[in-house]
């Protein structure tokens, strides 16, 4: 049985799966990636196998002549980056298990946000006293899709 990497957007309207192995995993500091993800750096992974969309598909924005970026138009989660006919790259945070894909290269270091080089020097907010208090999902009702495939799912359901 093939082991698939699965993932999707926050609300669960768009879901994907892809067989390994990992082709390329990186973080990119370029201004286009920063703005597209609203972030300081952008983590992307591509695979040797094609990406299969198992629920709906991302909406595409052509961010430059040859590059399209995919996102969920229901919740906004940035999902893909694709240059021309190159393999689709997926945002690592949208994987159900982002910790299994470790980036091995940094792109556009000259545009690093200044905090990136000092990220281990930030202080940490004190945590709650109990496991429950430490787990943000325990203290709110999340409408995020669970980190696994679901048979049926209504984005934002139960509100």
């Amino acid at each position: 049985m093939t082991d698939y990497f699965t993932g999707g957007c926050q609300c669960g309207a768009v879901r994907y799966r892809v067989a390994g192995p990992v082709r390329h995993a990186s973080i990119c500091n370029c201004r286009m990636c920063q703005k597209a993800l609203g972030n300081l750096t952008a983590p992307f992974v591509s695979f040797q196998a094609p990406v299969e969309w198992t629920r709906s598909r991302p909406t595409l924005f052509r961010s430059s002549m040859r590059v399209q970026r995919g996102f969920c138009n229901q919740c906004g989660t940035p999902l893909t980056y694709q240059r021309g006919d190159m393999p689709i790259s997926l945002t690592i945070g949208s994987l159900d298990r982002p910790n299994v894909v470790v980036p091995t290269v940094e792109l556009a270091r000259d545009n690093r946000h200044p905090v990136i080089g000092h990220i281990d020097e930030l202080r940490e907010e004190s945590q709650g006293a109990t496991d429950e208090e430490r787990d943000i999902l325990a203290i709110l009702r999340s409408y995020q899709h669970p980190d696994q495939d679901t048979e049926a799912w209504t984005p934002g359901g139960g509100q």
Binding site: K35, A36, T41, F61, E106, V115, G117, D120, R123
Partner: protein, 163 residues
């Protein structure tokens, strides 16, 4: 000398905003920020007096206590709204026209921090010189469709993007 205005927006420029001032900047490691941003953490800075100067974000109610704003045309995550009494809004730092105006000072919700997070600043850098120019540019400069990092009177440009 007064600081330039605090402005920002999404990648495509359909949504633009201005903030009167900024508060605490944080890196949030919770799994909800990870997934909403498609990233390893959510970089958020408290924005005071935020006004939408072009378009408005779409909102996704991500839990019973918060909603997240994004651009429906290009997907950029823009804001996280807990509805605080002071009317402030948590803004995605990467969407500021100058994200250096919001240096994070604290990690929050570190229980979900990814195991390899600490190693990210020590990754090797790709050597651009070894990639053939033809592969990088194919003879033509990249034409960006991203909104510039400042307000514009008209967007997208009337004359369109260079072919």
């Amino acid at each position: 000398m007064p600081q330039p205005e605090l402005t920002g927006g999404c990648q495509c420029g359909a949504v633009r905003y201005r903030a009167a001032s900024l508060g605490r900047a944080a890196l949030c490691h919770c799994r909800m920020c990870q997934k909403a941003f498609g990233s390893f953490f959510g970089p958020l800075v408290t924005g005071f007096g935020v006004t939408w100067t072009r378009g408005e974000p779409s909102w996704f109610q991500s839990s019973d206590v918060a909603r997240r704003g994004f651009c429906r045309d290009c997907g950029t995550p823009l804001a996280y709204d807990l509805g605080p009494d002071d009317g402030s809004l948590e803004m995605a730092i990467g969407t500021l026209d100058n994200p250096e105006r919001a240096p994070p000072t604290i990690h929050v919700n570190t229980h979900d921090r990814l195991s390899f997070f600490e190693t990210l600043t020590a990754l090797p850098v790709r050597d651009e010189s070894v990639r053939p120019l033809t592969e990088r540019r194919k003879g033509a400069p990249v034409v960006s469709h991203q909104h510039p990092d400042h307000d514009t009177a008209v967007w997208p440009p009337k004359e369109g993007f260079a072919a």
